[in-house]
Amino acid sequence: MNSAGRPKQKKKIRWRQVIPIYILALPGVVYMLCNNYLPMFGIIIAFKKLNFSKGIIASEWNGLQNFQFLFQSSTAFTIIRNTVLYNLVFIILGNILAILCAILLNEVVHRISARIYQSFILLPFLMSWVVIGYLGFAFLSADNGMINNSILEPLGKASVNWYNEPKYWPFILTMVQMWKTTGYMMIIYYSSILGISKDLYEAAVVDGASKLQQITSVTLPLLKPTIIVLVVLSMGRIFTSDFGLFYQVPKNTGTLYSVTQTIDVYVYNALMKRSDFGMSSAASVFQSLVGFVTVLVTNAIVRRKSRENAIF
């Protein structure tokens, strides 16, 4: 601050303390470099015409040719629209539902019942998409489905051929996704709520705050950092979709493609019979790049609104 010698000395002392900590972190850092950064080398496959006998590096470059097939067909607009819109709905609705469940669960006084409810809400998250696909079919099958046979028929309504009617599927898919993932996100919020000091609530009660006011004025503001982190992180995957949800649940039915086909399903269908590593890595490079940009943009917006809440 005031002399030139002092900071130098100060630095030296800090260095000595810090080195052992770096050494402690070394295995982790090396692991992260190997696991997360080394494979990034593979990105160049997206710009190459891969020839194994020449190897990755010696293969010819072919510019952006591998990316073309994503935008070739008339479905390019549909698949990008589907991917982005579904993700936006999932992010918004998913967070709202998860927070709601977490707050409600926090209000359950009896600890054991809270545990039980928590497990029940989490259970769907542990199921595989293939199983969920069949569960869905048990509900929606035209001839033997529960909805047609046990709900619509007794009500005297005409049965619906669910797998042939695209208009219902945005709702079905959203419901299934919420049913499956809410429990998982809820746990993160629930644990942050448990971390909020009881003193704050007591103070609020002393000030005469109602339950609702406690939630809006204490819980939610203190949850804000968690919400922001989760939203920004999920923004990074806005161009990626859960293949299981969009492929297994609609049972890959062509009639529904206009509302169920996302980028991942399209890539799978287009390249299923070909092992074209160039095109498939082009697709994921595209998804990751857009996701990266979205994370930066979202974070920049957060930083502009409130600096202390931005992730970086």
């Binding site: 000595r16 080195i19 052992p20 050494i23 015409k49 891969l50 020839n51 194994f52 006998s53 020449k54 190897g55 072919n62 040719q65 591998n66 073309q68 097939f69 070739q72 067909s73 008339s74 479905t75 079919f137 099958s141 035209a142 001839d143 051929n161 797998y163 042939n164 609609p250 049972k251 890959n252 039915t253 062509g254 009639t255 493609y257 086909q261 399209y266 269908n269 287009a270 390249l271 299923m272 019979k273 070909r274 092992s275 074209d276 095109m279």
Partner: protein, 538 residues
């Protein structure tokens, strides 16, 4: 001081890491040199054998010098133990060492990851001399530079496989060179509908086995059966979310070694049609789409058929289906019937014909990393020769997996499992029929001893041959992405049209427009250009 200590530790750690890395690379280099030295001695070995003109006594004792051919072994969740693989390898070596002085090692690969494992093994330089591609053709392997051109070896070392395969060898060509060798089996299939015999009898329907039925005539049969059986009963099983009934069974289409996303020859028009067309805009396809739509409306096809993921045989087992579209070649109906527990009758609908893609299903190739491609090819050739190597590879050892029940003068055999053994529990049993000449393997009880003979006769009776037999569409860079886009459109529309779940009045137009948007015309033009060049050269 503590800093110094830390530094020393760091240096030590760094040094140790360096030593480790160096010793690792040293390991590599030593093994490399040993590999190459054995390779040298091996090639030397083959040369001596050639000059000593197959001196058998020398060759059989010369086990040390013989080249070791590593061949893929397809596992469907049933990889045998190391010892059992070795027993079979030894039995094969007894034949191969005197014949061509080579030994064999089996390299088990799980079928679900076959394609990736093969690419990985070759690109990492693992020792592998014969690889098989199942259901994919050799196009990808060639463009990725993974496999050898086999033309140089065919004339001198491929006599047995050429004579055994005949026209079927056409399936292994890509870019006018031989890259793969198919297995030998029936050279074509007949196509049609397999119907439950009990229901045909119940409604007094008599099927003329000589006649080719049309979709309309089949529809009439469906009508009788459906009216008799009523609600909850369907006529067509086996439709799934990936079906393309027209191309698979009914259309008489030559896909020219690729898929319908690059167009095809409509051979129903004429057996010498060489004009490639988008088959989904043809009149035949339109008529087909109308039929399936009417069937779905009439309740012959369940309304969820395009979302179905169950196998047709599972559906038929349940008892509420009349039959399915399938092969009507000998053996197909009885095999399927046994599986589902109902006797089935063939309703013929499409004649047998020979096309390139028919022989692309199973293809053997030699990877570029093979140290002795010629030896590998010689061994491959031996699989088709008159010996028991292919039977050994398929079913293992006689007396261990199976016993011969019946045998005739042709060399045909009927076999049954050894007491207490099934295909699942056998010490060695290959489910995937990929090795050699399938018509020389023994057949299993309860098949009749004349089974293989009748298939050989059928082979000789197939006279319809596509004018493009031996031609294979090469996917060039210019149309590669258009092809993929068109392929995904085909994936979207063909299952729902096969299941009749959409009205062809509107959906066919949509389908065609989507294909045009994806650029199928450019792909077809490229395909036609290549075909014309190929025809001119022929």
């Amino acid at each position: 001081m503590s800093q110094k200590k830390v530094n020393r530790k760091l240096i030590l750690a760094g040094g140790m890491a360096a030593v480790m890395v160096m010793s690792l690379s040293a390991c590599n280099s030593t093994s490399d040199t040993s590999d190459s030295s054995t390779a040298l001695s091996e090639t030397a070995g083959t040369e001596t054998v050639e000059t000593s003109s197959q001196a058998e006594s020398e060759a059989s004792t010369g086990n040390e010098d013989s080249y070791n051919v590593v061949i893929e072994w397809i596992s469907i969740g049933n990889t045998p133990s190391e010892e059992n693989l070795q027993l079979v390898e030894e039995a094969i070596n007894e034949i191969t060492v005197p014949e061509i002085n080579c030994t064999v090692t089996l390299y088990p690969v799980e079928i679900s990851s076959l394609k990736n494992d093969t690419a990985l093994a070759i690109s990492t330089g693992e020792k592998l001399d014969l690889v098989v591609s199942v259901g994919t053709g050799v196009g990808d392997l060639v463009t990725q530079g993974l496999i050898e051109n086999l033309d140089p070896y065919l004339a001198d070392y491929g006599r047995d496989l050429s004579s055994c395969l005949g026209d079927a060898l056409a399936g292994g060509y890509y870019d006018n060179s031989l890259y793969g060798v198919p297995n030998a089996y029936i050279q074509s299939e007949k196509y049609g509908f397999l119907a439950r015999t009990d229901l045909l009898d119940k409604y007094g329907i008599v099927i003329d086995s000589e006649k080719l039925y049309t979709m309309d005539e089949l529809g009439e049969i469906f009508k009788t059966v459906k009216e008799g059986e009523g609600e909850g009963f369907y006529c067509v099983a086996g439709l799934t979310s990936t079906s393309d009934l027209f191309t698979e069974y009914l259309g008489t289409v030559d896909k020219l070694g690729a898929t319908t996303a690059s167009g095809g020859l409509l051979l129903a028009d004429s057996w010498d049609n060489t004009t490639i067309a988008n088959i989904y805009s043809s009149d035949q396809y339109k008529a087909f789409a109308n039929s399936t739509y009417n069937w779905a409306q009439a309740g012959y096809i369940p309304s969820d058929a395009a979302s179905n993921t169950d196998d047709g045989s599972v559906q038929l087992q349940a008892g509420n289906y009349f039959g399915r579209f399938f092969y009507t070649t000998e053996g197909a109906a009885s095999g399927m019937g046994e599986q589902i527990g109902y006797e089935l009758t063939n309703i013929e609908m499409s004649p047998p014909y020979k096309t390139t893609d028919r022989y692309q299903n199973i293809l053997w190739s030699v990877p570029v990393t093979s140290e002795d491609p010629q030896k590998a090819f010689e061994f491959l050739n031996l699989l088709y020769a008159d010996n028991d190597i292919d039977t050994l590879l398929m079913y293992g050892l006689e007396g261990v997996t199976y016993n011969v029940v019946e045998e005739n003068s042709n060399g045909d055999k009927v076999v049954d499992f050894v007491e207490g053994v099934t295909a699942d529990t056998a010490p060695y049993f290959c489910y995937a029929g990929v090795y050699g000449d399938r018509l020389s393997w023994p057949v299993w009880v309860p098949n009749s001893i004349s089974f293989n003979e009748s298939l050989r006769e059928f082979n000789n009776s197939v006279t319809n041959i596509s004018p493009a037999l031996g031609y294979c569409f090469e996917l060039t860079d210019q149309v590669s992405s258009k092809y993929s886009a068109a392929f995904s459109v085909v994936q979207q529309y063909t299952p729902i049209i096969s299941a009749g779940s959409v009205d062809p009045e509107t959906s066919l137009a949509e389908f065609e427009k989507a294909l045009e948007d994806a650029g199928i015309q450019d792909v077809i033009a490229e395909n036609q250009k290549q075909l014309d060049e190929w025809l001119a050269e022929k």
